[in-house]
């Protein structure tokens, strides 16, 4: 199924200009998303997941800049584009048509003053010049695909007339109507309750099978990761510290942070009465990161050598980790 990477992020750095100088939000983000697969980007709040996804789509806030790195994207026509340096005029043709995005908050991500048909149909107008009855027909078909009941009637609804789950289906319809190659889903189910969450995940998996797109799935929920992802990239304090196929990552977490993260998830197969393990300390503020491994101050295995900068390396095929003691972490487990 895999036909080479559709997106390779290499050494991405993003800084935000502020009154007190530049704040680095992403220090070193590198990962690879293979075509047709789902890569989960996991990490705590503030680890830089959302900034990464916005950077890929060229939608960083005005005071945010990509200061280093490449976003190598293989366009539909076969060209390799560096999204970090793509002019806005060219980016507009990619955005929505080749790469689209669904957001965390279905309640606020849709414009309250336009009908959902109008908002979905706008994609067809922008990218295919389609208008009128043909456009309406395509939108109704898409609403059907995302399993919205009575689509011919619902197309004229306003967002406030729909539930959160239905709105997220609308967002998915909007994102997928131009059949993009890459879908970025930024915590698409976090704001939904559990049953609706499962339905939305099912829907996304089905649509991925039917349409064959790649998904970058941003989440902090390891349960969702297990359910959705083919590969996982773990972020900590603005850097990817481990990337591996999902089964490999769950079976052999090689970074102390990943291990701590997995140990902190409640699981039904754990012996009763066993306490959940919390990672000591908290994520350091972005302004005051150590020059070496950012996790070192909280790491039980830290040594003086961890003060040196550390990059991702292959620990075995397909499994990359940014820890000098990864072998010991593995052996210990």
């Amino acid at each position: 199924m895999s036909a080479g990477p559709i997106l390779s992020v290499e050494g991405l750095r993003v800084a935000f200009r502020s009154r007190r100088g530049a704040v680095t939000a992403l220090r070193d983000v590198s990962f690879t998303l293979e075509a047709g697969r789902t890569l989960a980007l996991v990490g705590e709040s503030g680890s830089g997941k959302s900034v990464t996804s916005l950077a890929i789509l060229g939608l960083l806030p005005r005071n945010g800049d990509i200061t280093a790195g490449r976003l190598a994207y293989r366009a539909r026509d076969g060209r390799e584009l560096d999204l970090a340096r793509l002019p806005q005029s060219e980016f507009r043709a990619i955005r929505g048509r080749e790469i689209s995005m669904i957001f965390q908050e279905p309640m606020s991500s849709l414009n309250p003053l336009f009908t959902i048909g109008d908002q979905i149909g706008e994609m067809l107008l922008l990218h295919e010049g389609l208008d009128g009855a043909a456009r309406r027909k395509r939108v109704i078909e898409m609403l059907e695909m995302v399993e919205i009941p009575a689509p011919a009637r619902r197309i004229d609804s306003y967002p406030h007339e729909m539930s959160g789950g239905m709105r997220q289906r609308v967002m998915i319809a909007l994102a997928l109507i131009c059949a993009p190659q890459l879908l970025i889903a930024d915590e698409p189910t976090t704001a939904l309750d559990v049953t609706v969450q499962a339905q939305i995940l099912d829907l996304m998996r089905r649509l991925q099978r039917e349409m064959g797109m790649s998904i970058l799935f941003v989440t902090h929920d390891m349960g969702v990761v297990a359910e959705m992802a083919d590969d996982v990239a773990v972020m900590y304090a603005g850097a990817v510290i481990e990337q591996a196929p999902v089964a490999d990552l769950f079976a052999r977490p090689s970074h102390p942070y990943t291990r701590g993260l997995l140990a902190s998830i409640p699981r039904p197969d754990r012996p009763e009465g066993e306490r959940l393990v919390a990672i000591a300390g908290s994520v350091p503020p972005l302004g005051s990161l150590p020059s070496g491994c950012a996790f070192a101050p909280r790491c039980p295995l830290a040594t003086p050598a961890c003060a040196e900068p550390v990059g991702l390396r292959d620990i075995h095929p397909g499994h990359r980790v940014a820890c000098i003691r990864a072998e010991e972490v593995l052996a210990d487990a």
Partner: protein
């Protein structure tokens, strides 16, 4: 919806009734005798008493009040003491300059404030943004008579671009008369654009930070489309509100500018009427202005329905 409009119209009748009452009381609380003022300093007390009787001012206040209300309900606002004609016909003559002055000023302030407000919100924090906000503050703080006098001096007297004052002679054509309104409209337009600019900017700033704006950008449209289609409609409600209020204020509040430019509008009329204690004209003007004010506000509230389908009355 129909019920809502009906309710509002009933409310309007109540407010107009209150305005009538307050107008009636206030003009009579002011010291001064209209008869004595009309006859001048040489009149004898007997002359004044006779004139008062002729004008019906000698009757007890409650009787005058009842007569006034009953006539007003029939659409008769009484006779002007000074012009000796029905108040409504006096007012009708003065509506044209005031109405067009209000319309032109509103148009000018919207044309200045709306695009500028949108642009500086988009470029928030920029030099242009900061200067626009400061200039708007300044324009709003300077009294309109000062702006009026300055522009009159330079644009009309020195450069001769506009007539300095007045409303044309009796044989002036409609276009001539509108020409006389240009400079006062610019003055009022500048003064009022400050408020609209600030509302537009604040409202746009709020909206541009919303999630659905990010969604719009993610769809691959131009920034112009993001701002003018997706943001503008959402920012419209506060802007429509302040434009409506500005219009209502312009209709009722152009008194000073009308004085400075010597325009025979309702503002000038009411000032003259107050000085002459022409009770019926003062009352009539207040009622007409209050009614207009309420109607404009009703129109604004109904516009909300058009803009935002979530609004329900």
């Amino acid at each position: 919806m129909k019920l809502y409009i009906l309710k509002r119209l009933v409310g309007m009748v109540v407010v107009v009734f209150l305005v009538l009452t307050i107008a009636f009381v206030i003009v009579r609380l002011a010291p001064g005798d209209p008869a004595a003022l009309m006859l001048g300093p040489d009149a004898t007390p007997a002359d004044a008493a006779e004139l008062r009787a002729r004008l019906g001012l000698d009757r007890p206040i409650p009787v005058q009040y009842l007569t006034f209300i009953v006539n007003a309900l029939q659409g008769d606002l009484g006779q002007s003491l000074f012009f000796n004609r029905p108040v409504l016909s006096v007012l009708a003559e003065r509506v044209e300059p005031t109405a067009f002055l209000a319309l032109f000023s509103l148009a000018i302030s919207v044309v200045i404030a709306l695009p500028l407000g949108i642009f500086v919100a988009y470029r928030r924090g920029s030099f242009l943004d900061q200067s626009a906000v400061s200039v708007a503050m300044l324009a709003a703080s300077v009294p309109s008579f000062w702006t009026g006098l300055v522009l009159q001096r330079y644009l009309a007297t020195d450069l001769g671009w506009f007539p300095a004052s007045g409303y044309g002679g009796p044989d002036a054509t409609f276009l001539d008369r509108m020409g006389y309104l240009m400079l006062p409209s610019i003055v009022l337009g500048i003064v009022n654009s400050a408020l609209i600019l600030r509302f537009t900017r604040a409202s746009m700033l709020d909206v541009l930070g919303e999630d659905y704006i990010r969604t719009a950008r993610s769809k691959g449209m131009t920034e112009g489309r993001v701002v003018l289609r997706h943001a503008m409609k959402n920012a419209a409600i506060p802007i429509v509100t302040v434009v409506g209020l500005t219009f209502a204020l312009l209709v009722s509040g152009a008194v000073v500018t009308e004085r400075v430019f010597n325009i025979p509008g309702m503002g000038n009329l009411v000032v003259g009427a107050v000085l002459r204690r022409d009770y019926p004209v003062i009352q009539g003007t207040l009622v007409v202005v209050a009614t207009l004010y309420i109607l404009i506000n009703l129109a604004v509230d109904l516009l909300y329905l058009v803009i935002d389908k979530r609004v329900r009355y």
